[in-house]
Subunit: 294 residues, 2 copies
């Protein structure tokens, strides 16, 4: 068996081929330039293998409704060249195999659910904090789509007392992404997050904003575990700080065993940087199983 | 066919019996006093009919995990007499029929999904604003439980500029419930919500807080529709105000057809006060179907 996987990101495309035992046979990284250039490169990578299915986990927003005319498209992305691009259609036409498709963050979560920190769970969240903030959600054993897909980065959070940074979200100014993404840290302090590693107040403030968002995720989605990933979380001092502030904010309100042990409830990705491509592979595998059943 | 239904509330218990065509045959209301008194009254109501199944939608928190030792219990409720009461067990012992069990708000949502404003939807939210604030969630066609069940009322919301009310939530002070429940309105203005019906600034402020909560529900749960019910929403002037503030807060970020028509996206319950008992009946009916299949 040969399963193709594409983790489609705004700066690079990771493409890979797996066998039936989830072993990676080939892998490559292709810069995300313009679709006319990038799509043919990815297609020729996959054409060298006789694939049984392909899974795509893509940056977005994307259209996930199978009955929609624009199913499989990247839609209103700020990356102009990729706006209204029929991503699934391009591969469908060239490869003629079943294609599973979801958001990049749902892909990363599916990787963690299949092989990593969330094995066996039915309800989990993957929150990524980097250039933007986003999240994937598993609810009742299924990746959550609903009306569109979750857009967790834009949660409205209270302002931390004493913080007068205006926020950098072009839509909402001071939503979670506007206050706690990598660019927000840089905007507030005039230096990149990595250069601020040894300044404790940076990470205390950052963890307070993330804790507000995480508490809202707990209260709405009721996950059994939350995975915290992305570039900003490479600052590992954030994990204990986030747990401390989440505990304070919950104020003893929820008394589940999960919440009483936050060190195993709010965790780092177990697959390091492989969750995305492994999740994409699983999207392909699931689509193949679905087709075989029907 | 005879399906029993119990809508278990903190002040009254509504009990009813339905036939196979969802017609209500008998209905009664029993005050919620102490379990020793209230439980036998409810049981004898149901014992007069030969039930095929019973559905219970209860105030909480409740334990919804079938594999848990305290499944079917009301757990850490502020109503002390009902703390750690084995609600499902009491009826199971007396009636010996399949029993479906969920939260009161999931029950109300199931009523609206089965017969009311959310027919045919797979992803919806029922938000109730009254003495407290709570919500039921349908995600991917299933009522959301996850780790516990959603506790939407305690979302952390930004403070509206100029509002210096401390908030009345005993756990969090100024969470959504602390700032926008009926008691919060009374606490802020020193008069009951009903007596303030003609004071526009009361409802503008109230709608701003509710809009913060609703936007967070949209961004996390991605529902296809949100039903807004409960005593405070009897102030019907709130609906257009809420829609206006939700639109402002979204800031054009989501461009789905649903969100572009907020008058059919943020709606009142269609079943008036029957959604709870009808949802409870559906919980019983679903449990019966499940048992018959297995």
């Amino acid at each position: 068996m040969r399963i193709g996987a594409l983790e489609a990101g705004g700066t690079k495309m990771v493409v890979a081929v797996f066998d039936g035992e989830n072993r990676c046979l080939r892998k490559a990284s292709i810069p995300t330039s313009r679709p006319e250039e990038t799509l043919p490169k990815m297609i020729s990578f996959f054409q060298e293998e006789k694939l049984d299915a392909l899974g795509i986990a893509s940056f977005g927003p994307v259209d996930l409704h199978p009955e929609s005319k624009t199913y499989g498209w990247i839609t209103t992305t700020p990356k102009k060249a990729w706006r209204n691009v029929d991503l699934v259609g391009a591969f469908q036409k060239a490869l003629k195999v079943p294609i599973g498709f979801d958001t990049d963050v749902n892909g990363a979560l599916l990787g963690e659910v299949s092989f990593g920190s969330c094995k066996g769970l039915s309800d989990a969240v993957y929150l990524t904090v980097g250039t933007g903030i986003g999240g994937g959600v598993l609810s009742g054993g299924k990746l959550l789509h609903g009306m569109l897909h979750p857009e967790i980065g834009h949660l409205r959070v209270p302002r931390v007392e004493g913080d007068d940074y205006a926020g950098c979200c072009p839509y909402h100014k001071d939503c979670l992404e506007g206050m706690a993404s990598g660019p927000a840290i840089e905007g507030r302090y005039g230096r990149k997050a990595q250069e601020l590693a040894s300044v404790p107040e940076v990470w205390d403030l950052e963890s307070r904003y993330l804790a507000y968002g995480i508490v809202d995720l707990i209260l709405t989605l009721s996950p059994q575990r939350i995975v915290l990933g992305g570039g900003v979380l490479h600052q590992e001092q954030l994990y204990p700080l986030i747990r401390k502030h989440v505990e304070e904010l919950l104020g003893g309100y929820l008394s589940t065993p999960e919440v009483q042990d936050l060190s195993s409830y709010l965790v780092a990705p177990a697959l390091r940087d492989e969750q995305g491509i492994l999740g994409a592979m699983m999207l392909g595998k699931q689509k193949l199983t679905e087709k075989e059943k029907s």
